[in-house]
Symmetry: C2
Subunit: 434 residues, 2 copies
């Protein structure tokens, strides 16, 4: 009799919670949909990023100390110290880092995001994106482009020269250009990009072209030498990933808007530091639920490289998938289908699978080849238990040890352990009977 | 016995011809595939277009006299006479035209093409596209953009001002820009455009952006005032159809390369003057096989307009479909699917149907949503008899009488009578029984 009453109470409580979760998730979705991210400014990281100090370097992924970091991340940090003048050699930089003389902190704890190693150091110019709905701001570096670049953990003379040019020339040019535009709506560009074959993570060709198209007039209307105008233009035009970091700031704002909704099971961040993969959940505060970072499967490698040479998955860029773009929208970018180890149908299947673990279709981003269905958005972590399906992330492979930078691209699956841990924590926090 | 022998002879001859046709069509296809159209120059129509005289105006479609012309075509011609200073009023222009004081001739007879009314007058600056394989050249005007424009048969102060600016400023700027680029490969841009949601007739958004991206550096590197640079840039950036006329010149070169192949049943031109729809066939010389121009079906109209107000189908732009793009490639541009009176599946169906009347899939233009199959190219006029399927053309609707210009867009079907006439002529020329 007592047991029966207890079971009834339990069942009532569970039912009550299910309703509360539903309501909370509806709120989270509404918040994602109402965010209006606008690229409004460019400034120096030290000036604008919260809790940035001359001695702080930010990195991708959940928190991690020097000892735990993978080789590409360590390289990027050493490169950043040299760039900042905090060390005058690779060796000196390594010593400072090993001796904990530098404060290391995750981008996500500073309203920031960065692709791959994601390193942001105090003097770097950063993109400033504001959400006019909730008034929050997010930051990222400018994308450096391919080849020997710090975001891939590569550095050398060429990389440092480029970083210095970004700091001394490009940043201030873009600050004036963005001011002249009055702000650039990021959803507007991405909505068109999705119509033009971008999935908005590994493919940003159309979005970058649309961005370029929008800034030429402001660029020409400010008082700059033709040489500088040309340099700035060529830098953007020469990098089809230029818009990636901008997309990341917008996705960060949308997911942060959905974060901290009591009772919500909506996934609000996925991020990797190259050692661990971490997720955050709206109703579970600022905890990270981590597991070892996975290796990419079905990756395509640059000539001369192959499986076994890549570091585990790395970067904050999976905030894009958390927002329902990238891997979730791969059916919009059949040119990326080869990463799916198949053709167009395989890409469509992935997007459809993501539809099984998400709560809504985003009407802002419509996939042409799926009869203009919206992108599957808002992962409900409970759906993993029901379906066994994990988020699919379009990613790049960076060499695990040689400093060669990017050696491939492919698809990563979020590790299931993160979801199990988050679900356990949810049960505990909301006193669910397991 | 005599009858039997005759039948055998007949059968042998038919078989022999079928083989000759097959061979001829293979040649035609090879010629289409080997054309390399490059935008190489801009010049004044009078300077470069064969048989252009100060008193000649070219128009879209097969040959037609003033009396037979539709209202939008007549308007465009009157506008052109005023632009040329050949008449000082609309009325005076009409008088000259009625009195046959102006030589009217089809673009196609002068290595030229023009969309909609397609009017080219002697002072207009024209795009010069050269095929490096066969050394031929094709010409078209610059696309004027939407609204009150001569290509839609609208003219007035604004239109004439724009035409004068194109002649006095834009033409010479672009001449220098194109020279600086060393020539722009048109297939290269269209191949990317097809990957980015363009079908390369009614949708040229991506192709225009790619063209823009390619000309900014040359534009900035020549000695021009910033104001002129800005005007030129804005003119292109403000018109997502800018690349249309360029695509038409390339398609014209490809189809002309396949023209005049003895025994070939490959369609080498489809064109409309707003009164008649005409086709040309490779093995049938320069004859046009004509039928009344069709009205568009499943068209979408601008607010305030509807069916019954449009003129019949008009323009040389269907050279794009003859080349296997536009309506034939509509599965690549699901954003155009609404013109198909349906969704994505309907667009895929149209492209698949076009596959049933064409001879090959063009490896240069691969449709992402069809697992990167090439665009269906090279209509064999015999296939119409076997399948009953007619070429599908993505087109625009222009007002039949008010001078309002474009009032809608939709799909036109080539009239079957043209194909019947061409097949009869083929039979006659090659002494086929039947």
């Amino acid at each position: 009799m007592v047991a029966e009453i207890r079971m009834q109470e339990e069942s009532t409580r569970t039912k009550y919670l299910a309703e509360r979760i539903k309501e909370a998730n509806t709120t989270a979705i509404e918040r994602i949909l109402s965010v209006e991210p606008t690229l409004v400014d460019v400034d120096t990281a030290l000036n604008v990023i919260p809790d940035m100090t001359p001695n702080t370097i930010l990195h991708a992924g959940p928190p991690i100390d020097w000892e735990g970091m993978c080789d590409p991340m360590r390289r990027a940090l050493r490169g950043a110290l040299i760039f900042e003048g905090l060390a005058d050699s690779d060796q000196k930089a390594g010593e400072l880092l090993r001796a904990n003389q530098i404060k290391l902190s995750p981008n996500h704890h500073h309203d920031a995001v960065g692709p791959m190693t994601g390193v942001i150091s105090p003097s770097m110019p950063v993109i400033v994106t504001r959400d006019s709905t909730y008034g929050k701001t997010a930051y990222s570096t400018f994308n450096e482009g391919g080849g020997k670049a710090l975001w891939f953990g590569a550095f050398g003379k060429e990389t440092l020269q480029r970083l210095n040019w970004l700091k001394d020339v490009f940043g201030s040019v873009m600050k004036r250009v963005i001011a002249k535009t009055g702000g650039i709506s990021i959803w507007n560009i991405l909505a068109q990009g999705i119509q033009m074959g971008d999935e908005c993570h590994n493919r940003h060709s159309a979005s970058t072209n649309l961005f370029l198209k929008g800034i030429v007039e402001p660029l020409l209307s400010i008082d700059l030498s033709r040489e500088v105008v040309m340099q700035a233009y060529k830098f953007i035009a020469g990098n089809s990933h230029f818009f990636l970091n901008i997309t990341m700031t917008a996705s960060k704002l949308a997911m942060d808007a959905a974060h901290h909704v009591r009772d919500s099971t909506v996934l609000t961040a996925m991020s990797r530091n190259g050692t661990e993969f971490g997720i955050r959940v709206s109703g579970l505060g600022d905890s990270w639920f981590v597991a070892p970072a996975p290796y990419l499967h079905d990756a395509l490698y640059s000539p001369g490289y192959g499986p076994g040479e890549g570091a585990p998955d790395i970067g904050d860029s999976s905030i894009i998938e958390t927002m329902g773009l990238g891997g979730f929208a791969i059916a919009a970018a059949p040119a990326m289908a080869s990463f799916a180890g198949g053709g167009f149908e395989e890409a469509v299947n992935i997007t459809k699978q993501m539809g099984l673990i998400t709560l809504f279709e985003n009407p802002t981003f419509r996939i042409p080849a799926l009869d203009f269905k919206g992108t599957p958005t808002g992962v409900d972590i409970r759906r993993f238990l029901e379906t066994g399906i994990l988020p699919s992330i379009n990613s790049a492979v960076v060499h695990k040890s040689s400093g060669a930078g990017q050696i491939g691209a492919g698809i990563a699956k979020a590790p299931y352990e993160c979801f199990i841990e988050a679900l356990k924590a949810f049960g505990k926090k909301y006193s669910l009977a397991a």
